[in-house]
């Protein structure tokens, strides 16, 4: 417990702004911070005064001044939430909602590197042991380490991630079939040509290598085009969804690792399909290939 160096209290509640700016009040008003989206939707700016109440049906409200406009952080758990956020001083919200001296949650910061093995503060409790200590003596509330909260709040995106992987697997199967089909067609088109080359003395191994090389080049070229297309699509996806959800969160990322995986996979598919197609070709007698 001695490791606690700062505390914040926050009361969650629903606040309804009942009127847009009508006039600027004096400097004595308390300040609030509003969501950037609310500012845009209601035409509010820093310095404007608004009257707000906890319920839309409240006969009167409190006048406050907008002291800041906040932008949503890149938090996956926030993007599906469409409601606007207003931040105000704790005591003012308690008074506005009439809940008295109550809070919804509070956050605790432990010393940096606390609990880490070998750290200077190795004897100081870390987040896990602090939350365990709080839970041992708590009644009516529960402490969660930040890492646990992060896992919980990112559950939505973990599910979406698994879904994308599944779609990726189906796409790879479809691509493999497509590539094998195209390679077979290309090889079939050149049956006479290959038959003639075989009759001239070209070895089976050379035919197999040339077909595999060709399929690999097609796969490489296709994956290079695909990487470019993916980067462009990713930019469009980010631009579109960042606008839709008013968030700086990046929805699609094309990293060098992803490109490397895609190119490697594509190359492997190309080599395998080239090999299978070439095997069909070299197993056929040269005379049969030339149509005799």
């Amino acid at each position: 417990m001695r490791a606690w160096i700062r505390r914040w209290c926050a009361l969650t509640g629903a606040v309804i702004l009942t009127a847009p700016v009508l006039h600027v009040q004096g400097q004595g008003l308390r300040t609030i911070a509003i969501d950037e989206r609310l500012g845009m939707a209601a035409g509010l700016a820093v310095g404007d005064s608004v009257r707000f109440a906890a319920m839309a049906s409240a006969p009167s409200g409190q006048w406050v001044r907008i002291g800041a406009i906040t932008r949503r952080s890149a938090d996956p758990s926030e993007i599906a939430r469409s409601e606007y956020r207003v931040r105000l001083h704790l005591d003012q919200l308690q008074s506005l909602t009439g809940v008295g001296d109550r809070i919804g949650r509070f956050a605790v910061r432990t010393q940096e590197n606390a609990g880490a093995p070998g750290s200077a503060s190795g004897t100081v409790a870390g987040p896990d042991s602090v939350s365990a200590a709080i839970n041992a003596m708590a009644f009516g509330f529960r402490a969660y380490p930040a890492a646990e909260v992060a896992i919980e709040t990112s559950a939505t995106f973990r599910v979406v991630n698994r879904f994308h992987r599944a779609i990726g697997i189906i796409t790879i199967v479809a691509s493999a079939i497509f590539l094998l089909c195209i390679t077979l067609l290309k090889v079939d088109e050149r049956r006479r040509e290959v038959g003639a080359l075989r009759l001239l003395g070209l070895s089976r191994a050379t035919v197999v290598r040339s077909v595999m090389l060709e399929a690999s080049l097609i796969a490489l070229l296709g994956s290079a085009l695909g990487a470019g297309f993916g980067a462009a699509a990713s930019a469009i996806v980010n631009w579109y969804y960042q606008g839709v959800y008013a968030t700086p969160l990046r929805f699609a990322l094309v990293t060098p690792e992803i490109v490397a995986i895609a190119v490697t996979l594509s190359l492997l598919l190309g080599i395998v399909s080239g090999y299978l197609a070439a095997q069909r070709l070299v197993r056929t007698a040269p005379l049969e290939l030339v149509g005799r």
Partner: protein
């Protein structure tokens, strides 16, 4: 004869025909899945809402049902006033609260619904019997599993904590009489239902004569939106949310999946189209001499067109039929992945099979197959017979 020729052409290279059919099957499966995803969420949610039998939901002004802990006071008077509306046939008040069940070494928290057992629309009874007394409770399977309580047991529960005095508040004894399937709550969520008057009593002054949501059933043929506006006008504390408005809200929340479904469905269609076009084009190129001979001996252009397009059609139909089966299997797999989505009702389906979706997918793929045969068919009928025969003879 034309059909036999088309089939003979396809069976000549069995390997690549099989591969093309497999490619079309995968494309159809993806297309079917995406069509199911595009409409499934909406229809699944509509099913839930309509199963409740209420067309309107009234919430504290500016909130969605149970999105916040906001409540409305004067519950009895509000319900009585709404019931007076000539278009309203049933009114079901609901109050959301917390329920704490102390066990030997822990406390099981749960979501508590205060309902009117006579008109409730929140759960369907799966086991036991419904609430018939103020101290009787219906719970879901997750709650029974977490607490180890059995139907028929009488237990102590509480609605809150008094942290300063370190004791429970709103304590009482209840008898668990039934297990229900709560339609709108997430799968793993523990939930219990008690008569609303009991929940209001357990909550003390904070919940006295208050409610969170009012479900309203209107008479058949009534204009639900008009009834909602009339109720909103009569009481400024509530917002009315119709089934259609709720569906629009769900559409907005899950728009990502609809857009993804549209993009992937388009990609699947293009892939299927390209695959069939490529195969039929190559097949026509290989048989260019054969087609020229057929033309030279008097076979009409129309018959050549029909034969080439029939090849594309056969590939598409066989691939599409196989793809339907594959699509249903993959939809089940994808649905299992998405069913872990936090906060969604357990029985919510992202992929809902509807015959119309299957017909649409089949129709699209078969249209693509017919379209895919157009270019090679045109090429086959416009070739110069003499030149082609000469080139083939030289080759």
């Amino acid at each position: 004869m034309i059909a036999r020729l088309a089939l003979a052409s396809l069976t000549r290279r069995r390997g690549r025909t099989a591969l093309t059919i497999a490619g079309v099957a995968v494309a159809t499966a993806m297309l079917l899945d995406m069509v199911m995803l595009g409409s499934g969420m909406r229809e699944s949610f509509r099913g839930f809402i309509e199963q409740q039998g209420f067309q309107l939901r009234l919430t504290p002004r500016g909130t969605m049902p149970f999105d916040s802990e906001a409540t409305v006071g004067g519950a009895q008077a509000l319900v009585a006033r709404i019931a007076e509306d000539p278009e309203v046939v049933a009114v079901a008040p609901v109050l959301g609260a917390k329920l704490f069940t102390p066990r030997a070494d822990s406390v099981v928290p749960a979501f508590l619904l205060g309902i009117d057992p006579a008109v409730q629309g929140d759960y369907v009874l799966a086991e036991g019997r419904d609430i018939a007394a103020p101290d009787e409770m219906v719970v879901n399977g997750a709650w029974l599993e977490a607490t180890g309580v059995r139907l028929g047991d009488t237990i102590r529960v509480a609605s809150g904590y008094d942290a300063q005095l370190r004791r429970f508040s709103g304590e009482g004894s209840v008898r668990v009489v039934g297990r229900g399937r709560f339609m709108m709550l997430a799968g793993g969520e523990k939930v219990a239902a008690l008569p609303i008057a009991t929940v209001q009593g357990m909550g003390g002054e904070d919940l006295r004569d208050r409610l969170s949501v009012v479900l309203v059933a209107t008479r058949a043929g009534a204009d639900v939106e008009t009834v909602g506006r009339r109720i909103e006008a009569s009481d400024a504390r509530v917002s009315a949310l119709s089934t259609e408005a709720a569906l629009r809200f769900v559409d907005e929340r899950l728009s990502y999946f609809r857009q993804l479904a549209f993009i992937l469905a388009s990609v699947s269609l293009i892939t299927g189209f390209l695959l069939v076009t490529t195969l039929v084009t190559v097949s026509v190129n290989e048989r260019i001499g054969e087609i020229a001979v057929m033309r030279a001996i008097g076979v009409a252009r129309e018959r050549i067109v029909v034969q080439v397009m029939l090849e594309g059609l056969v590939l598409s139909v066989i691939g599409a039929v196989l793809g339907l089966g594959l699509g249903i299997v993959t939809a089940k797999w994808l649905n299992e992945i998405l069913s872990a989505f936090p906060g969604l009702p357990a029985a919510f389906d992202f992929f809902l099979f509807e015959p119309s979706a299957a017909v649409r997918s089949l129709g699209l793929i078969i249209s693509c197959g017919i379209g895919a045969g157009l270019w090679p068919a045109w090429r086959a009928t416009t070739l110069s017979i003499a030149q082609t025969l000469r080139e083939e003879a030289v080759a």
